[in-house]
Symmetry: C2
Subunit: 352 residues, 2 copies
DNA sequence: CTGAAAGCGCTTACAG
DNA sequence: CTGAAAGCGCTTACAG
C-alpha cells in the first residue's frame, strides 16, 4: 500500500534491467533504436516498480514543459465568470488530449511590473500562453509579438499589434442582433456597453450595432448608449439610467449576457415587462441565458469551441507547424423569449 | 527590444559579477552568509541582464515545485460551473499571494486508471492537490490518506476515509433553510436533490432537511423527494415531476442554486408564481442567485473564502506546520424574495 | 543495437 | 565570507 519513501529513478530501472541509463531513457522516449527484447525487458521493470520519470528533470533536459498558461485579467473572482469558464474548459479539454498541462495566471499589477509574462517562458515554466479578456491597458502584449514566446489572444484580437488570435465574428453577431430588433419594429433602442474603447471586440459590437441601426434609417442618439461595466450590477444601473434618460425606449441591446440579465432584473423591479414593454437581447449565450425568465435572446458564441481551437493552434505554434494564427469563428443569434419575436416556447422565431 | 536568443544562466551572472556560482545561488536564495557588498554587486548584474532563474532546474534541485493542483470531477465544462469557479478563484488568489502556481486537473478515467493522482506528485509536478467536488466513486482518494502526498478535500469531506478537508457546515445551513420554510407555514415541501448517496455533503443536506421537517411534526414523504442532477435542466425536470406527483406542494427546497433556478423557470412555464404559489429556497448562493427573478432565497456558502482557507492550510500541510486539517466553516441563510418571507426589496426578512 | 560521458541549470553540504 | 564539487534525474550527441 504505502510505497517506499524514495521514488525510483532511471538508475534503478537501469540496474534492475541490466542495461545502461541511456537505454532506459531511449525506451522511455520510444526510440526505435532499441531492440524489441531489451525494450520489453526495460518496460517490464518500469511496470513492476511503478516507475514515473521526473518531469522536472525531463523539462530541464528538454527545455520545455508541455505546460500552457491561461491568462485572465484581474477581475473580482475571475475564474467564477462563466464566460472565462467556458473558454477555460475548452482549452483544458483540448490540452489534456494533447498531453499538455494547464497553469492559471491572472494579469495582476505585479505580473505586469515584474514582467512575469516573460518569466513564465524564460523560467521554463510554460511553453505557451493564452490570454482571455485582454484590454488596451494590457500594453505588455506588444512585447509578445515576435513569436519567440508562443502567445495568443483568445476570443479577442488587436488592431494595434500583430498577435496570434482566435476570435468569433463579433461584428456580424452584433449586426444580426441589432437587425433583429429593428425588424421587430423597434426605433428607440438602448445600448448597454462595457469595455468599449478598451476591448477591441466591445468596440466592434458597438460599431456594428450603430451601423445596423443607421442602415435602417434610425439616426444615432448618444443618449441611448450607457455603460454597464460588463456585470449584472452594472447592467441594472445602466438599465435604470437608460430608462430615466429615455422613457420611450422599447428595446435594449446589451453587450453581454450578464448585463442583460441585470437589466431584466431592473426592468422587473420597475414594473416593466420583458418583452412586452421592453425587449432585451444579450451577447455570449452563457448557459444561464436559457434559464433566465424570460429566456434571453442572445448572440451565441461558441466559447468552448473557441477555447479548444485556440489551444490546438497554440500547440501548432509551439511545434512550429504554423507561424501565425488569426482565425475568425462564425457566430449566430439565438432567439428565445426576451425579444418578443417568439411567442410560444418551441416555436421557431421568424427571421422575417 | 528583442532579447538575445539564449537566456542567461547563473553562470553568466557569476562571471559578470566575478564571483562563483555558489555565491550567485546563495544571493538568489537570500542567504545571509553573503556580505552586503557582494550581494549588492550580484543583484546589480542580475538586474542588468534581466536574469530569471530556471524554475525547472530549481525544482529539480529542491525537489518541489511550489505548484498546487486543483482537481475537479469530470463534468460537462466543469470550469464553467460557478460553484467550482468561486472556489478556484479563492484558491488561486491565496496561492498567488503565497508564491504558488495553480495547475488544473480533471479526474477523468485515465487520470484514475493511470494513477495520475500519484504521478502528479511523484513526477514532481505538484507539491499538493486540492479536490473540489469529490464523490463516492472517486475511491482513489483512499490512497491519499497517509499524508505522504499532501491532499485535501475542498468543501467536502469523507466519513469513510481520514482525509484533510475544509468544509462548510452543510447540515446547519440546510436545517436553517428548512426551518425557514416550516416557519412560513409550509407543510408540503418538496426536495430536489442531487448527488445524495454519492456526495457526503449532499447526503448531509437531505438528512438535515428531513430532520428539520420531522422536528416540526411534519411526517416524511418519499414522494416529495426527487433528483435533479445538480443542473438547471435537471431542476426543471425535477420540479415538473414533483408537481405532477404532488399538486399540493407549496414550497421547494433545492439542494443547489442551479437546480433552484431551473425549478423556478419550470414553475414559471407552468404558470405558477414564485413565491405566491410555490416558495423556493436554494443552496450555495452563487452570484446569479441575487439576480434571478424573483431573487433567490438560499443558503450562503462562503465559497471564495473556503478556497482561500483550503489553500492556506494546504501550504501549511506541505511545510509540515500541521499534519491534519479538518475545518468547518459557518454558513447562513440569505433571505431574498423567492420564499415569500420578504415582501419588499430592501426590507429585512422576519426570522419569526 | 548499446553504453560512457557531457550537459540541462540550479542547490547544498563541505572545505577553507 | 566565499568557492569547488557533487548532486538533483533526466536526454542526447558521440563512440563503438
Amino acid at each position: 500500500m504505502n510505497e517506499s519513501k524514495r521514488r525510483y529513478t532511471i538508475k534503478d530501472i537501469a540496474e534492475q534491467s541490466s542495461v545502461s541509463l541511456s537505454t532506459v531513457s531511449l525506451v522511455l522516449n520510444d526510440n526505435p533504436r532499441i531492440s524489441q527484447t531489451t525494450r520489453a525487458r526495460v518496460l517490464k521493470t518500469i511496470e513492476r516498480l511503478g516507475y514515473q520519470p521526473n518531469r522536472m528533470a525531463r523539462a530541464l533536459a528538454w527545455r520545455h514543459t508541455r505546460t500552457l498558461a491561461i491568462l485572465v485579467p484581474q477581475l473580482r473572482h475571475a475564474f467564477a465568470d462563466v464566460y472565462f469558464g467556458e473558454i477555460v474548459s475548452g482549452i483544458y479539454d483540448r490540452a489534456s488530449g494533447l498531453g499538455y498541462k494547464i497553469l492559471l495566471e491572472v494579469a495582476r499589477n505585479e505580473f505586469i511590473d515584474n514582467k512575469e509574462y516573460h518569466q513564465l517562458y524564460d523560467q521554463k515554466f510554460v511553453d505557451g500562453m493564452l490570454f482571455i479578456g485582454a484590454n488596451s491597458r494590457h500594453r505588455f502584449v506588444s512585447e509578445l509579438t515576435d513569436g519567440s514566446r508562443p502567445f495568443m489572444l483568445v476570443n479577442n484580437y488587436s488592431k494595434e499589434f500583430d498577435l496570434n488570435y482566435v476570435v468569433s465574428n463579433y461584428r456580424y453577431g452584433a449586426w444580426q442582433a441589432a437587425q433583429h430588433l429593428v425588424r421587430l419594429g423597434h426605433k428607440r433602442i438602448g445600448f448597454i456597453g462595457g469595455g468599449v474603447g478598451e476591448i477591441q471586440t466591445s468596440q466592434d459590437i458597438l460599431d456594428a450595432f450603430k451601423e445596423a441601426i443607421e442602415d435602417s434609417g434610425i439616426g444615432p442618439d448618444p443618449n441611448l448608449i450607457v455603460d454597464g461595466w460588463l456585470t449584472e450590477e452594472g447592467g441594472m444601473k445602466a438599465a435604470e439610467e437608460l430608462l430615466r434618460r429615455n422613457p420611450d425606449v422599447t428595446a435594449i441591446f446589451s453587450l453581454n449576457d450578464r448585463m442583460a440579465l441585470g437589466a431584466i432584473k431592473k426592468l422587473n423591479e420597475l414594473g416593466l415587462r420583458v418583452p412586452q414593454d421592453v425587449a432585451v437581447v444579450g451577447f455570449d449565450d452563457i448557459p444561464q441565458a436559457s434559464f433566465a425568465i424570460p429566456g434571453l435572446t442572445t448572440v451565441h458564441q461558441p466559447l468552448y469551441e473557441i477555447g479548444k481551437l485556440a489551444c490546438e493552434r497554440m500547440v501548432e505554434l509551439i511545434h512550429g507547424k504554423v507561424s501565425r494564427v488569426q482565425e475568425v469563428m462564425p457566430i449566430y443569434l439565438t432567439v428565445r423569449e426576451s425579444c418578443g419575436a417568439r411567442l410560444k416556447d418551441g416555436v421557431a422565431a421568424p427571421t422575417i
